[in-house]
Amino acid sequence: MADEKVKGIVLDIIATVAPDADISDVDPAKRLRDQLDLDSMDFLDIVMELRKRYKVEVPKEDYPRLESLDSCAEYLGPKLEAHLTS
């Protein structure tokens, strides 16, 4: 359940960062980059939005952990805990 919420949060951010991307049919196990035509500038933006919206910091060395929706859920779940319970 929490996983689904995190995925929803990430998809919501992607919809802001890349409104022209089609997020209706994302395979959670596959790399977001390959499915959605996101480049490194977009990824930086996702990280920035996480900070803006949830005060979550993602250090550069952890960027690979935002690769897919599944890995996002695993990595961001604990960081977003406060937002998931409320």
Binding site: T16, A18, D20, A21, D39, M41, D42, D45, M48, K52
Partner: protein, 464 residues
């Protein structure tokens, strides 16, 4: 109050940088010396008519639904703007006209490939390889341009020097800060911008874009002060300590981004800015500037037979892109018909003509001579256009002309340089840790280039 960031200049790069920073909750202040936004691509009203200073075309047009890393999409994404807001209408077709030969291009590069193949059959294969190779390269400017040469690059695929001149003519006019040749990286960016992506015009002209940017910036809480020039940048040798305004007020900020140009910004740091258009130790001889006339015509040019959207022309055997010795160079130029984009008809027909010009010649004229020479130039330039197309002169009801000194006066760019200094600083770095350059002298040129530059520099320096 201390700002997180102060941005010098409310042109395309400064406004874009401001939007990025304000969006991520920085306290941002943009300072603009002029009373109008837009800088090199501003707009004004004269005799009840609205004019655009610069706009011929927005380059880098990509149609709706086109995703990925093309600059236009990148800008829309990064600034959180929707494509509809810019109301872009693509061009019909444009031409490169040289003696005895004409090439035609559209926003589909296949048309240009076909046109080159028809006019230069022996070069068809080589040109195809140029397009393929350019498209395989990264859309970035980084590192040093060094000695790289677009001409040498084109010669490695093509033999015909006239074709090389014809390919270079539009890309130089729309984005070369260097005479005669351009660095390869800059060429690749401009080739894609002009031939592979192409031209569009925002409905209503450049003000449509500027208004969208200003509105977005303000809606994010960004502050903007007009008629508020920066007189001096104070520093301790390592960092900017404060910014002094024309009226003596001081402003403090953690970060300063300047779109005033590199040498111009350094002059502000040295306390050497003055109003004579010169800075000690800086030569403006290698900077390129233009004359531009905007003629209002009583019927749309297409009604009397001028059909292309933009024409890049050269009347000599070889094409020379350089600062002329005389006040202007009539031998090559750009002709733009804003009414020949797709989309709704304009309120009135417009014909724009651009030639290369020598800033120093215009700067040293007396006011009386200046007025006479401006008209003399515009008459001669119109005559050349009239030799290529049905004569538009009988239809002209109003005409405005601006010169390199006009450009300098309203934008502060030394030498009236439209594309800034030939030396670009792709990293944006300056000798002061919290001062960076964005816009023209960072390296990305034109409207789309300047916006991209503001975004890249804001991302690189402003997000900590």
């Amino acid at each position: 109050m201390k700002y997180d960031a102060v941005i010098i200049g409310a042109g395309m790069s400064g406004l874009s940088a401001g939007i990025r920073l304000a969006y991520f909750d920085k306290r941002v202040l943009i300072l603009e010396r002029h009373y109008a936004y837009g800088g090199l691509n501003s707009y004004y009203t004269l005799g009840g008519r609205q004019y655009d200073v610069g706009l011929h075309a927005l380059t880098n047009y990509t149609p709706p639904g086109h995703r990925g890393g093309q600059p236009l999409n990148r800008i829309l994404r990064q600034l959180r703007l929707s494509r509809e807001e810019l109301k872009l209408h693509p061009q019909k077709y444009s031409e490169v006209r040289f003696p005895g030969r004409t090439l035609r291009f559209t926003n589909d590069v296949a048309d240009f490939i076909e046109s080159v193949a028809t006019a230069f059959p022996k070069e068809a294969g080589g040109f195809y390889k140029v397009v393929e190779d350019v498209l395989s390269r990264e859309y970035v400017l980084d590192g040093e341009d060094g000695e790289s040469s677009a001409r040498a690059y084109l010669r490695s695929f093509l033999n015909d020097e006239i074709l090389i001149d014809m390919i270079l003519c539009p890309v130089m006019y729309y984005g070369s800060p260097t005479p005669h040749d351009m660095p390869l990286g800059q060429f690749v960016v401009m080739f894609r911008s002009v031939y592979c992506e192409g031209f569009a015009r925002p409905e209503g002209g450049v003000r449509t874009i500027i208004k969208v940017l200003v509105k977005k910036y303000r809606s994010l809480g960004g502050k903007l002060r007009m008629r508020c020039g920066v007189e001096r940048i104070h520093h301790d040798g390592h960092r900017v300590t404060s910014i002094e305004l024309d009226d003596g007020e001081h402003v403090e900020a953690d970060l300063v981004l300047s779109s005033a140009g590199f040498d111009e910004t350094m002059a502000l740091c040295a306390g050497e800015a003055n109003s004579t258009g010169t800075v000690a130790g800086v030569s403006t001889e290698d900077r390129l500037s233009f004359l531009e006339s905007v003629s209002i015509v009583n019927v749309e040019p297409s009604a009397f037979g001028i059909m292309p959207t933009i024409v890049f022309y050269n009347t000599e055997d070889r094409f020379t892109y350089a600062r002329p010795d005389g006040a202007y160079d009539l031998s090559s130029g750009v002709l733009c018909m804003p009414g020949n984009f797709t989309g709704a008809a304009l309120p009135e027909g417009i014909v724009r003509v651009t030639n290369l010009a020598n800033y120093d010649r215009w700067r040293t004229m007396s006011p009386a001579e200046y007025a006479v020479r401006k008209n003399e130039w515009a008459d001669k330039a119109s005559e050349i256009v009239a030799g290529m197309f049905p004569d538009f002169r009988p239809h002209v009801i109003e005409r405005d002309v601006f010169s390199p000194t006009t450009i300098e006066r309203y934008t502060g760019h030394l030498g009236g340089a439209v594309y800034g200094s030939p030396r670009k600083i792709h990293s944006g770095r300056t000798p002061l840790a919290n001062l960076a350059i964005c816009g023209t002298d960072q390296g990305f040129l034109g409207i789309v280039g300047a916006m991209l530059s503001g975004i890249l520099i804001a991302n690189a320096y402003g997000m900590e």
